[in-house]
Symmetry: C2
Subunit: 170 residues, 2 copies
Amino acid sequence: MRAPAELTAMFRASGLKVTPQRQLLFRLMHENKSHPTAESLFSVASHHMPGISLRTVYQTLTDLSSMGELRLIDVGSGAARFDPNLDDHHHLVCQSCGDVRDIYVSGSGQLDVNELDGFAVDTTTILFHGLCTPCRVTQKVSSTVAKPLVGISKSNTSSKNITNPKERMS
Amino acid sequence: MRAPAELTAMFRASGLKVTPQRQLLFRLMHENKSHPTAESLFSVASHHMPGISLRTVYQTLTDLSSMGELRLIDVGSGAARFDPNLDDHHHLVCQSCGDVRDIYVSGSGQLDVNELDGFAVDTTTILFHGLCTPCRVTQKVSSTVAKPLVGISKSNTSSKNITNPKERMS
DNA sequence: TTGCTATTTAGCAGGTCTTGCGAAGAAAGA
DNA sequence: TCTTTCTTCGCAAGACCTGCTAAATAGCAA
């Protein structure tokens, strides 16, 4: 994602207005490595600008995505996440804490795919699900209690209920 | 996913009851290659058994997933999809019609990942987004009108609004 | 077959995430 | 400063999914 000043110029050049809300969001997203959801970005933005609307955050994130300045990523945790990193990269998703990290994968463009059969591939998305180091350590300690895997449990332990996705923003 | 008769035995062995609703869903999902959502499976099921509840479809799909008989896939189109194919495979997602197809990828287990940095990978999911053959043909015909890419459009053209995911069930 | 009991179903309410809409407000050019 | 056009806010509503509970029923035992 471009720097706030460039985005400002781009927006104006496109006939779009540059409001304080947008400028704040430009700043908060620029080089943000936390893959925030609209909601979590909203809570940070609210701290800087009380009264800003969640609607505006969604709007601006969607606009930036349409302009190709933000990548929208869906790691299956319910809410969409936004990534200002436009490099060709993929993601590591912690199944325990929900944290998302960028990861660079060599040769993903030349994956050996059988029977493409006329399908024209545009983009390839790779998600590595697993455990981040902090969670692995925690898990190891309580490993005797872990994984009631067998049998059917009614309680939903799906990734949708991940607690407290970490935000690392200023 | 196992055959209906085996699932029936498994369910009973686990103390779960085998209802007509479940048997129908076993049959509809067994070797189903359409990657249905709960909703679309519900509409097919309703045809065979009017009055069946969407709640029951969700319940049964969730149960089968917990038992490892179904894989839950999220292609970012809003609703979760269910896949009875338990082979190690990935998915092709048509950005135009939303169709999902299984695809086998060689060597995805040994992707060259830089800086894993302590992260323990459990599963890898690969999504190839692009255009299926039918959609590519259609797109080509109307290619002069296609892709208003530049500028910001307020209208949402995201993958969430894909029309009419094809169902290929009996 | 009948009766019993734990499980399941149906249906609706409610939760989460996201978008549509319109009145009020504000950016930016004249 | 004025005017036009775009934006913001806030709420309503839509899509998807789960929690809850009364009523129904599978499956076992007699």
